[in-house]
């Protein structure tokens, strides 16, 4: 790869100011580096300056605060998140998503936040986080803000992050009514592959007034919440096959997949319908 200037800030403020200094040439951030380093190796990106975030303690945060939510710091690895007991107990769709990401080895280094910031349409972490109404906490020169994940990603590989901003953590809000959740991924094979289709489903308040969140990835320029499907399912405890067909159709109509070497748009569209049906079916049973 091409040479670069390495910066290793130890505080968030230091990191932000490095990004603001108008360095000569592109500046890129490194957390896990599992996308960045192979890209640099193959000369696909050429940062002049690399700001390595791994020396900033507050970014390693990974904790669940009861009645508040799960805080996933920028440096938390996919495997660490997957292994957190509260993730298994409360956010099974997130656990599924983590375990479907890449492979056992890469997950020891890749970060959840990194996957979200890359904003690749097929990013495995995004649908589940979106179904859990996650928000992104950003630090910049003028302070810190929170942006809902749905608004954070604006297009393929594009987020609202400005050049001098850093994601500090992603928060997955606690909710007393969380009942079930899952993430289903379809690829060319079952290990280390980009999703051809990825569907996350989360159900809250199953006992009283069921509320469904359905998010689909790899089938549109950004991950989409299928609002029409969610409307149809609202209040329904055990959707029957007729309703599931309608829900599937709503999903198929909402997405705009492309054809590429991994899959055709027709296959993606049909499979998003199928995976939505399956995901909703899985969520009829509690996984909490």
């Amino acid at each position: 790869m091409l040479p670069f200037k390495l910066e290793q800030p130890v505080t968030l403020e230091e990191a932000v100011s490095m990004l603001s200094d108008g360095a000569d040439g592109p500046v890129m951030l490194k957390a896990g580096g599992t996308d960045l380093i192979p890209w640099m190796n193959k000369f696909l990106v050429h940062p002049q300056t690399l700001v390595d975030l791994s020396g900033i303690p507050c970014l390693s945060m990974l904790e669940y605060r009861p009645d508040d939510g799960l805080y996933i710091g920028a440096l938390a690895t996919v495997n660490c998140v997957a292994k957190l007991p509260q993730v298994h107990a409360l956010f099974p769709a997130l656990e599924d998503a983590c375990l479907s990401h890449s492979d056992q080895l890469i997950r020891n280094k890749a970060t959840v936040v990194g996957n979200v910031c890359a904003a690749v349409p097929s990013g495995d972490m995004i649908p589940a986080l979106m179904a859990y109404d996650a928000s992104v906490h950003i630090a910049g020169p003028s302070g810190e803000t929170d942006v809902p994940l749905e608004e954070f990603i604006v297009g393929p590989r594009r987020t609202v992050l400005k050049k001098n901003e850093i994601v500090v953590y992603i928060k997955v809000p606690a909710h007393p009514g969380l009942f079930s959740g899952c993430y289903l991924k379809l690829g060319r094979r079952n290990a280390l592959d980009l999703a051809q289709v990825g569907v996350a489903c989360v159900v809250r308040d199953m006992a009283s007034d069921p509320l469904y969140s359905i998010a689909c990835g790899a089938v549109a320029p950004r991950v989409l919440r299928i609002k029409d499907a969610e409307e149809m399912l609202k209040g329904v405890k055990r959707p029957d096959s007729a309703l599931l067909e309608k829900v599937a159709e709503a999903a198929m109509n909402a997405v705009s997949p492309i054809s590429d070497v991994r899959a055709s748009m027709e296959y993606r569209r049909d499979q998003v319908g199928e995976l939505v049906k399956r995901a909703v079916t899985v969520c009829m049973t509690s996984r909490q």
Partner: protein, 160 residues
């Protein structure tokens, strides 16, 4: 532009002090210093022949920059061999169960199996398959490797 960085870390039980460029991946730095058991099969994180243990955690060294192991412990396949050349039970199991053919994927796989059995001393078939999914093998078809993991689990639990 990129000055050299000095890193200090422990490699297979020995303290090392190396000068590396920021852009040197751990893979290339190790190989440049003669640790050639760590292979470069693809340098894009797809094959696993570059697997190493960093603080006991298996990682693909083509995706790590060398400076990142400063202050850490790195173990490669040579590090599993005892002081008098005794092979680790996992290495013995690979040999006895026909888990090796060309040998290119073997050093990385052995380390992944080491990590697996540390975390999970009696894994199920599915757990074994899933844990190894980041290490490709083209010669054996994995069948002999599965046998070796079972055998290694046996040997390691007998040791205790």
């Amino acid at each position: 532009m990129s000055g050299k960085i000095e890193i200090q870390f422990n490699l297979n039980g020995h303290d090392e002090m190396w000068e590396v460029e920021p852009r040197d991946t751990l893979l290339r730095a190790l190989r440049a210093h003669g640790v050639t058991s760590v292979k470069r099969g693809c340098e894009e994180g797809e094959c696993g022949t570059c697997t190493v243990l960093v603080n006991e955690v298996p990682q693909k060294s083509c995706m790590l920059l060398a400076y990142e192991v400063d202050g850490k412990e790195v173990v490669t396949a040579e590090g599993l061999v005892g002081p008098n050349g005794e092979l680790h039970p996992i290495q013995q199991a690979f040999i006895s169960e026909g888990a090796i053919q060309c040998g290119f994927c073997t050093p990385g796989l052995v380390l992944t199996v080491y990590a697996l059995l540390k975390e999970n001393p009696s894994p199920s078939d599915e757990e074994i398959k899933s844990y190894l999914s980041g290490n490709l093998c083209r010669c054996t078809g994995y069948i002999g490797i599965f046998r070796a993991v079972r055998k290694a689990a046996e040997l390691l639990s007998a040791k205790e």
